[in-house]
């Protein structure tokens, strides 16, 4: 296995255990507190679903970029990497819309229109929600920055193997979201 790919898998493995630990902690709490479902009802499923779609699309673009690099079509690869970064941007815009809505509701002790449950009754749910999705959002920012650095190399025709490594990392960021979305949005 090439050294760079081996190193990247190591990075992914160490990230998996970080997110794995966080998600396990949340799961254990969640199983012990069925009432947290009422809090989860406040998360915006539509926005989360949109973000899932956006992230999956971004993974498609980075795979395309990798394919173009292998075919020697560097300009197309650069274009697809810009598209990946654009998807990351859309993800973050949607996420900040969600955050501002939820924080406003939390500050005003907003009751749920259907259940009448007052948001923030179980603050630890929101602590987990912001910690997990916030940490994930930081990884989205970091991943996008890394893709941009790789992209600048590709423009000059340097370090083309890094496109694959950036892709491995980006898929990891994607997969984490696949876990977070059902756990925080769908499960009620």
């Amino acid at each position: 296995m090439p050294t760079g790919r081996l190193g990247m898998w190591w990075v992914v493995a160490s990230e998996v255990v970080i997110f794995g630990g966080l998600i396990m902690c949340y799961l254990i709490h969640r199983l012990g507190n069925p009432a947290w479902g009422d809090e989860a009802a406040f998360t915006i499923v539509g926005a989360g679903a949109l973000n899932t779609f956006v992230l999956l699309t971004s993974s498609y673009w980075i795979v395309r970029a990798h394919k173009h690099v292998n075919n020697g079509e560097l300009e197309k690869a650069v274009r697809d990497m810009y598209l990946t970064i654009a998807c990351a941007g859309i993800f973050l815009i949607v996420k900040s819309y969600e955050y501002s809505t939820e924080i406003t509701e939390l500050l005003h002790h907003h009751p749920h229109p259907e259940t009448g449950h007052v948001i923030g009754t179980f603050p630890v749910f929101w602590a987990f929600y912001f910690a997990a999705t916030g940490l994930h959002a930081l990884h989205v920012i970091g991943g996008a920055a890394a893709i941009y650095i790789v992209l600048r190399g590709v423009k000059k025709g340097e370090n083309l193997q890094r496109v694959e490594y950036a892709g491995i990392y980006w898929h990891f960021v994607d997969v984490v979201w696949i876990f977070l979305f059902p756990l925080f949005y769908i499960a009620k």
Partner: protein, 567 residues
């Protein structure tokens, strides 16, 4: 992974020989040898800080309320800070950097015949992040409120709520420093594993890799898997401290036990993370000074894997009295007793290596043998503590403290001295003085053993940890003279370290020049010139023909058979 050597053209090997310069230690360097030395010296500096703290709180315990020379009065808050930071430093800033980072950086490329680590810049970054974490920890001692004093395990709510711990800044800087230190070692681990997998020299197969290299790799993997959840836990603790979340706050629906699980899920594998390199050092030294092949190479390796796997399922034996389900405690008792089997096996393998050998009691060998003898004492008392019934009585007493130190002092002190004295000729080009080395050895071993044997006794008498003044407890007052003996032994032990410092200075300045292979050993680090130059193998990369432990092979004139020597 690939067995064949993958060599890329390295621009630095074309530079030829680079002389070693002390100045290089103070600047970012990508040379594995310099980075190893940087880790070593930072570790030694932090060890001095840690020992100074041990001196201060032992003086307070022996003569409570009197002024400690070089420090002054020790208030209860100071005392708590001292014991907390002493533990934190000795594990995270001494054992880890010296045993894994310094030994790994210095020896992995040399032992596998590589010119450097495969990611030299990442390696450099890892050291500077580590240094930053050390600086943050030292700064945390001087912020308003003083350093964190909630014990090195940092259990919430004491660590999460500044109104309990009274160290608003100290506790946050503590978490930050520990988290950065983890990041530094994750980066180092990438290098250790990928270098060993991808940069081995021609002919070095999996079972030709020296045990020490294997053990550092296994330790890096253990560290990576175990530390992740604790990094997540540290983020939660930081949020609890700074952002007002309630992950660990019962009043708002959180759970302080969660931290204990996260901490010990890391904390127990961590013992094996530092133990494995120490055992690896012994595996390198014992065959050389017994002139005998290491007994059962593959069994040692499989045993280490078994230890690694088992180490993930024993963590809750630290929490028997924390309110976990008794049925759960029984399971963890069983797994804890199970893990003593592979470690015992390893001890027997080392003893079997000695059996029938031509043993030469040079200083490194003395340290390695002392490691095994003293570690056995620590390991055996661990079996008592692993049993729920006994642990409920001994929990948080000095029995635990003594057990822990009988495990960790052999790891972080005895094995480190063994490694230091064994590889000193390679790193410096000079031989250490044997006579001073032996004086230092006995002057360290005897006080160490007396100190912690007495602490076992105090623990059985019911002396609780983390108390600044035992004269307040009527049932413990009568043991005051024992505490004073312990403190005196500590002073003797510290005093004998000056012999070591003198030995190093004297040898560096006027010592005998060392041969390339002074111990007549087989492994590849003895092929390179002393004070390894940049690029290491200046006379071309060696080719490996056999395993690293072929000593006293029948029918051969020499009693050793270097790995790179053709038939």
């Amino acid at each position: 992974m690939s067995n064949s050597a993958q060599k890329t053209d390295h621009e630095h090997s074309a530079h030829g020989y680079h002389g070693f310069s002390w100045k290089a230690l103070f600047w970012p360097s990508t040379n594995h040898f310099i980075i190893g030395l940087q880790y070593l010296f930072t570790g030694i500096f932090m060890a001095c800080v840690g020992v100074f703290m041990a001196y201060v709180f032992r003086m307070q315990l022996a003569w409570p309320g009197t002024e400690v020379p070089l420090f002054g009065f020790v208030g209860p808050g100071d005392y708590n800070t001292m014991v907390t930071i002493h533990g934190t430093i000795m594990i995270f800033w001494v054992a880890m950097p010296v045993l894994i980072a310094a030994l790994g950086n210095f020896l992995i490329p040399l032992m596998i015949g590589a010119d450097d680590m495969v990611f030299p810049r990442l390696n450099c970054l890892s050291y500077w992040v580590f240094l930053l974490s050390a600086i943050i920890l030292v700064i945390s001692l001087f912020v308003p409120g003083g350093g964190f004093g909630g014990g090195w395990t940092a259990y919430p709510p004491l660590s999460a709520d500044a109104s309990y711990s009274l160290t608003k800044w100290g506790q946050t800087l503590w978490v930050l420093a520990v988290a950065l230190e983890f990041v530094a070692f994750l980066m180092g681990g990438i290098n250790f594993v990928t270098t060993t997998m991808n940069a081995r020299t021609k002919g070095m197969k999996m079972y030709d890799i020296p045990i020490l290299v294997w053990f550092i790799v296994i330790a890096s993997i253990l560290f990576m898997i175990s530390v992740g959840p604790l990094i997540a836990g540290a983020v939660m603790l930081l949020l609890d401290q700074l952002a007002g979340t309630a992950f660990y706050n019962v009043a708002q629906g959180g759970d302080p036990l969660l931290w204990q699980h996260l901490f010990w899920f890391f904390g127990h594998p961590e013992v094996y993370v530092v133990l494995l390199p120490a055992l690896g050092v012994c595996a390198e030294i014992i065959p050389v000074f017994a002139r005998k092949k290491l007994f059962a190479y593959k069994i040692i390796l499989y045993t280490a894997f078994a230890t690694g796997i088992l180490s993930f399922v024993v963590w809750a034996h630290h929490q028997f009295i924390a309110g976990i389900d008794p049925r759960m405690a029984n399971i963890f008792t069983v797994t804890t007793l199970l893990i003593s089997i592979p470690i015992t096996e390893m001890m027997f393998v080392y003893i079997a290596t000695l059996y029938g050998g031509a043993i030469d009691f040079k200083t490194p060998m003395l340290w390695a043998l002392a490691f095994i003898a003293e570690f056995l004492l620590g390991g055996c008392t661990g079996i008592y503590l692993g049993c729920t019934g006994v642990d409920i009585f001994f929990h948080d007493t000095y029995f635990v403290v003594a057990h822990f130190h009988f495990v960790f002092v052999p790891i972080a002190v005895l094995a480190v001295y063994a490694a230091f004295t064994y590889w000193f000729p390679k790193a410096s080009g000079k031989m250490l003085c044997e006579r001073l080395g032996k004086i230092h050895f006995w002057g360290t071993i005897i006080p160490f053993t007396v100190i912690f044997l007495l602490l076992f006794m105090l623990g059985m008498a019911g002396q609780h940890r983390r108390i600044a003044d035992f004269t307040q407890f009527p049932e413990l007052v009568s043991y005051q003279s024992v505490r004073q003996i312990v403190t005196c032994c500590l002073l003797v032990m510290i005093a004998f370290q000056t012999v070591f410092i003198w030995n190093v200075i004297k040898s560096l300045l006027w010592g005998k020049k060392a041969d390339k292979n002074p111990w007549r050993a087989n492994t590849l680090e003895w092929v390179v010139p002393n004070v390894p130059p940049h690029g290491n193998f200046v006379d071309g990369y060696p080719e490996v023909y056999r395993g690293p432990y072929e000593y006293s092979v029948k029918g051969r004139e020499k009693d050793y058979w270097p790995q790179n020597e053709p038939e």
